[in-house]
């Protein structure tokens, strides 16, 4: 992989991708701010309720920055955000940065373990189904993957909670476990992870199956076979790397879906995290907290997509060069 970083063109590509990412971040906050302008009703008044005095509403408006014009609000927000200040929770007076930082590790742990589980199970199942089309596992996969993808994650989460925690008592019902107690935290992590990953296991398995079947009929696979390479190596090395590329490509979208799913799972299992934080803030229209959380979530999403693009380039040298040459890498 020595050509990877040494290629100036790829660095250029990375820089332009980063610039786009920053634009999207600024744009997403601007969108949020501008919507508060279009929509009838004052967020401060909605937050405080109809009985609040005009003076109190005015103080809140100032604290929330609502009295500034749109571009200034966005500018001030980002100026502070760059200094690590995401604003202040107008209700509790706590720093939004602190709240987000406290919640973030839980959500990242949940998302990473869910993706990990989905990939670790989805890829082997997909491989097996592709190598033995029509086998029992293949047929089971065909039926279950569609049903699992179609079942919303919150339904899965509630049912898991019901059967394994309420009925069987195998897993704790609530929370993320005692801080510092690794085993307890793991115990609390298992059901939420499964709930979040289940749909993706089926989705990835189906994707790997179909792309592997396609790759296995390519001429270069025939070449590998013609040179007496054992079928294991042909599938696991020569075909799988190519078959994984579409999987990697959808992981970018997948991380976004996962961040959404995390809201449900965190609410259902009462886990502290970014999802439950943003959810609580939205219920009471705690606008600064919503804004700070949204920025971080969109940033994670954008960053994840960036990583996916690089992983994509790392897996496929053709993409690597095409990306280095031209700026538009969008069309996959």
């Amino acid at each position: 992989m020595n050509g990877f970083w040494s290629k100036g063109s790829l660095a250029r590509y990375g820089a332009s991708r980063l610039a786009t990412a920053v634009l999207v971040l600024v744009g997403s906050i601007a969108l949020l701010c501008s919507l508060t302008l279009i929509v009838p009703g004052d967020p401060a008044r909605i937050l405080l309720g109809a009985r609040a005095t005009p003076e109190l509403v005015e103080t809140f408006r100032q604290q929330m920055g609502l009295n500034l014009p749109l571009y200034e609000r966005v500018f001030v927000f980002f100026k502070h955000a760059l200094q690590g200040d995401l604003g202040t929770d107008v209700i509790s007076g706590r720093s939004v940065t602190d709240m987000v930082l406290a919640a973030l590790p839980n959500t990242i742990l949940l998302a990473v373990s869910a993706i990990g589980l989905a990939v670790l199970l989805g890829i082997p199942i997909g491989c097996y189904a592709a190598v033995r089309p029509g086998s029992l596992l293949d047929q089971v996969l065909a039926v279950f993957s569609v049903s699992l993808v179609a079942t919303p994650s919150y339904v899965v989460a509630i049912l898991l909670l019901y059967f394994f925690s309420v009925r069987l008592g195998w897993f704790p019902v609530l929370g993320a476990g005692e801080p510092g107690h690794v085993l307890d935290q793991l115990h609390h992590l298992i059901l939420p992870t499964i709930a979040l990953a289940v749909g993706w296991i089926g989705y990835i398995a189906r994707l790997v199956r179909s792309s592997l079947l396609e790759v296995l009929s390519e001429p270069y696979i025939r070449t590998a076979r013609a040179y007496g390479q054992p079928e294991r190596r042909v599938v696991m090395k020569y075909a799988l790397k190519l078959a994984c590329i579409p999987t990697v490509a959808i992981l970018g979208v997948g991380i976004g879906e996962l961040m959404g799913g995390a809201v449900f799972v965190e609410v259902i299992f009462n886990r502290p995290g970014l999802g439950s934080l943003v959810f609580d803030a939205i219920r009471v229209r705690n606008y600064p907290v919503v804004q700070g959380c949204i920025l971080i979530i969109v940033a994670i999403f954008v960053l994840a997509n960036l990583l996916v693009d690089f992983a994509y380039a790392w897996l496929d040298p053709r993409v690597r060069e095409a990306l280095g040459r031209t700026r538009s890498g969008g069309g996959v």
């Binding site: 020595n2 050509g3 390519e218 001429p219 270069y220 696979i221 025939r222 070449t223 590998a224 076979r225 013609a226 040179y227 007496g228 390479q229 054992p230 079928e231 190596r233 090395k237 020569y238 790397k241 190519l242 590329i245 897996l315 496929d316 040298p317 053709r318 060069e321």
Partner: protein
Amino acid sequence: MTRDALVEIRSLSIDFATGRGAVHALRDVNLSVGRRRIVGLVGESGSGKSTLALALLGLLPENTSKVTGNIELEGKNLLALKPEQLEHLRGRRIAMIFQDPMTALNPVFTIGTQLVDAQRNRHPDLGRKELLSRAAAMLIRVGISDPETRLAAYPHQLSGGMRQRVMIAMALLCEPDVLIADEPTTALDVTIEAQIVDLIKDIQAEFSGSIIFVSHSLGLISELCDEVAVMYAGKVVESGPTRGLFAHPSHPYTQALLACEIDPDTEPGERLVTIKGGLPDLVDVPSGCIFADRCPARFEKCSQEPALREVAPGHDAACWLV
């Protein structure tokens, strides 16, 4: 021409299942390849020559519905071997150069990795390092300079001609007894084609195995091969020593092929089109001589199928006129 044959194909017939019914891709084909000989297989696309090549490797497509006859390598019938035994032969005793070097190499692995893995069957005891240095030496042998850079490169970073050289190097690295070259120059442009032909001639001198050279070009065959088999619609219609066959082509199809080839005005791709008519339907094969529909010398007897008959020592043709 059976004298100390390395490969002996006896009455080989192969069918493919399709939506329209069984396609009879090969019908009763006989061919023998002597040690250190180069045998050319010539015919237009659809004549079954590539099917024959794939059958030798045991890599027939999945819709193959019937295989009868024998393919013997030193007296051992390849068609009776188990998959693992076949796998053991590939890349060790038989190696193949494919038609299109653009798609025959895996796009996401370096040339080095692919050349190393291709040798593993032949040299199971050697490590990656030794295999890489063997590969580097072979790249120089096939005319690729700066082998270290090329080994680290990916297929798309090489030109078509260079990729075909890599494929040839891959085949030679396996030191096979039988080397099958399936239209190795068809996908290349004319100047590169000439270079690759020169390379093959060059290698031929020191290569100790036999070569089966598949092509639709009689010119290339006459340049490279000791013997020729002309195929038409899944059958061998004429075979014999190159010199004799070119001097006295006996089957009307061979004669027509030669006539097209000599005419300098036709483009390479058009060569065969100038024989009027098209290939017969291989699902519902007409009875009688398979070439009768397009044959200028057709007469009543052609409604029966002619067998291969000896025209000269080692030179056979399947035509009622000989």
